[in-house]
């Protein structure tokens, strides 16, 4: 009886251990989760090592999660939930960023836990760095590029760029437009007042009342042409071109798009 109870206890403990290990939050800390099976084992290990090293050096996690489907959730919502569920993030504030790839719809999401250490301008740099690789199917290189693009801003070797999407040139252009355009419009309006002589182009003012009589009217149908254009399907729509946009809320900031 006692042995039976010990066996039963052992079985229950084993099951409990398996259950605990199966729950992401209790699992050993993994930063690269390739559920969509895009990476080879070597690539996975290499990226894990890089992510672990950066996490230790910067106090900041670089997570990657690839899934085939989000189960009907929007990729952004899925990324937000997955970040907490898989236990990404370092320290009390769970500092880190997650890159989600949703393969069925070819969505990507860069999702950073607030308070952010990066900004939208850096997300754009990360996007620009990784997208060419993702579009070519070179996922390991894309994930490495996504990390490399952010590292200089996290280790202090580069200052965070302005996050309004406008560099010094853009701001100068804005100042120039705001100041020069009204001045140009006003001066153009005043200059137009200086010229008042214009040659007449028609004689509409010399047609008397009831002076127009159009009595021959014939509309002859000649032929018909029919063209058919296929409606681009959702999968076709996502291929070839990509667009992206920023988001913020629910404790995360980031950027998402198609690849």
């Amino acid at each position: 009886m006692r042995k039976t109870l010990q066996k039963l206890f052992g079985l229950c403990f084993g099951l409990l251990l398996l259950f605990i290990l199966a729950i992401p939050g209790f699992a050993a800390q993994r930063q690269i989760i390739d559920d969509a099976k895009l990476l080879t084992n070597d690539e996975l290990e290499s990226l894990e090592r890089t992510a672990a090293r950066l996490s230790a050096e910067l106090g900041y996690d670089f997570g990657v999660l690839t899934v085939q489907s989000t189960g009907g959730q929007t990729p952004i919502d899925y990324a937000r939930q997955a970040y907490d569920l898989h236990g990404f993030g370092r320290g009390a504030e769970k500092n880190g960023v997650l890159l989600l790839l949703h393969m069925d719809e070819r969505d990507w999401v860069i999702c950073e836990k607030q308070p952010e250490r990066l900004n939208d301008a850096v997300y754009r740099e990360m996007e620009d760095a990784m997208l060419p690789y993702l579009q070519n199917g070179s996922y390991a290189e894309g994930f490495a590029a996504y990390m490399d693009a952010a590292v200089p801003y996290l280790n202090g070797s580069r200052e965070l760029p302005d996050d309004d999407g406008m560099g010094a040139g853009g701001k100068l252009a804005l100042v120039a437009a705001v100041s020069l355009l009204p001045a140009f419009i006003y001066c153009a309006m005043q200059l137009s007042k200086m010229k008042s002589a214009k040659a007449a182009v028609n004689a509409a003012g010399y047609i008397p009342q009831d002076g127009v009589r159009i009595d021959q009217r014939q509309d002859l149908f000649l032929h018909r042409t029919v063209s058919r254009r296929p409606i681009p399907q959702a999968t076709a729509k996502s291929a070839g071109t990509h667009s992206s946009s920023s988001f913020s809320g629910g404790g995360f900031s980031g950027r998402s798009g198609k690849f």
Binding site: A183, A199, N202, Y206, R217, R224
Partner: protein
């Protein structure tokens, strides 16, 4: 005897049409369309007529003006300006001291000969004071007008001049052909189906034009005279020298034939836009060809009243003209470039300062 054969073309694809005995229609082997023979014959006749009428319309100019009587000629004096070539008629009792067009003071008297007597005259309704007031109003609100221009130009030199005009009357017979389309779109789950129906639209009719004025003076800029239109013809009188005292009258140096192309141009533009406006309900419309013929056309010679001021400023001529009936005044003004720069800087500088401050405050610097 030479053999002649008419080859009719398909209006849809321009392929050759063949008569099909069983249907009694003309059929196109290329696109498969068929047509009533009468329709195709009418289209071909339209095209031929259009080709014939493509040349410039002719005007009956013989009735414009008449010879001066000896008594009238004796009571008038003609002054010629050697600088610009203008010829001015004045009453014999009036001595012209300068050219109304270029301001040249050395005008030369000569005999009146070889010119037509006008058919009509439109008397001045507004006096010189009204012209001076209109000119002052014209200067108002012009921020870039040099101050020295208004100070130096001589308003007292405003002169009333009867400007020679040819008045063109006609009934314009028009026939135009257009290629038009109607486009419909329908959508299924997989595709967008666009159906384009092609039509050949013809419109024809007559449009009357009464007394289109074209100035017969090379010295008077066309844009100036066009811009002071319209004149009120209800006050038009048979010409009499009784309307001339106190004013000058220019003698035309462009004949009615020489002025006709400008009238033709204005008529054609009006006819085309009026006829095209009747083609409605189509997605696109392109003119294929048109035919314009001027029936019952007539040209008359009239003197119309214009107050004029010619002035020179910094070596450049400026001419202002005012409709002597309605008071409508036009004339291009000189521009003070320094004032333009000052206004531009005056607006741009504070805005640039404000925008820079906003960027520094909100954006954290450049």
């Amino acid at each position: 005897m030479p053999n002649t054969a008419t080859v009719y073309q398909c209006p849809a694809c321009t392929g050759p049409l063949r008569f099909a005995g069983d249907s009694g229609k003309l059929e196109c082997a290329h696109c498969g369309n068929d047509y009533e023979p009468a329709t195709i014959q009418a289209l071909a006749a339209d095209k031929e007529r259009a080709a014939v009428a493509a040349e410039e319309p002719a005007w009956a100019t013989a009735a414009a003006g008449s010879p001066w009587s000896d008594a009238e000629a004796a009571g008038l004096r003609v002054y010629n300006c050697p600088a610009c070539g203008a010829e001015i008629i004045c009453e014999r009792s009036v001595a012209a001291t300068s050219c109304a067009y270029c301001g040249n003071p050395a005008v030369v008297p000569k005999l009146l000969s070889g010119q037509l007597r006008p058919d009509y005259v439109l008397p001045f309704r507004l006096e010189k004071d009204a012209a001076m007031q209109a000119l002052k109003a014209h200067y108002k609100g012009k921020k870039f007008l040099p101050k020295t221009f208004t100070a130096q130009n001589h308003m007292e030199e405003i002169r009333g001049v009867y400007v020679p005009f040819w008045l063109f009357d006609c009934n314009a017979e028009a026939a135009y052909c257009y290629r038009t389309t109607r486009v419909h779109s329908a959508q299924t789950a997989r595709e967008i189906i666009t159906t384009t129906e092609h039509y050949r639209v013809t419109r024809g009719g007559e449009i009357a034009f009464r007394r289109i004025p074209v100035d017969g003076s090379t010295k008077m800029p066309d844009a100036h005279m066009d811009s002071i239109e319209p004149f009120d013809y209800s006050d038009l009188h048979e010409f009499s020298t009784a309307f001339l005292p106190g004013y000058e009258a220019e003698i035309y140096d462009l004949s009615a034939e020489q002025s006709a192309p400008r009238a033709n141009e204005r008529i054609r533009e009006s006819v085309e836009s009026t006829v095209a406006a009747t083609v409605q309900g189509y997605s696109s419309c392109a003119k294929e060809y048109g035919r314009l013929q001027l029936n019952e056309n007539e040209v008359k010679y009239a003197l119309l009243p214009v107050w004029m001021l010619h002035t020179r400023w910094q070596g450049k001529s400026y001419l202002f003209a005012m409709n002597g009936q309605t008071g409508k005044l036009i004339g291009d003004l000189p521009v003070d470039k320094r004032r333009v720069c000052a206004y531009f800087a005056g607006i741009a500088a504070p805005l640039a300062a404000a925008a820079t401050a906003a960027v520094l405050l909100l954006g954290g610097g450049f």
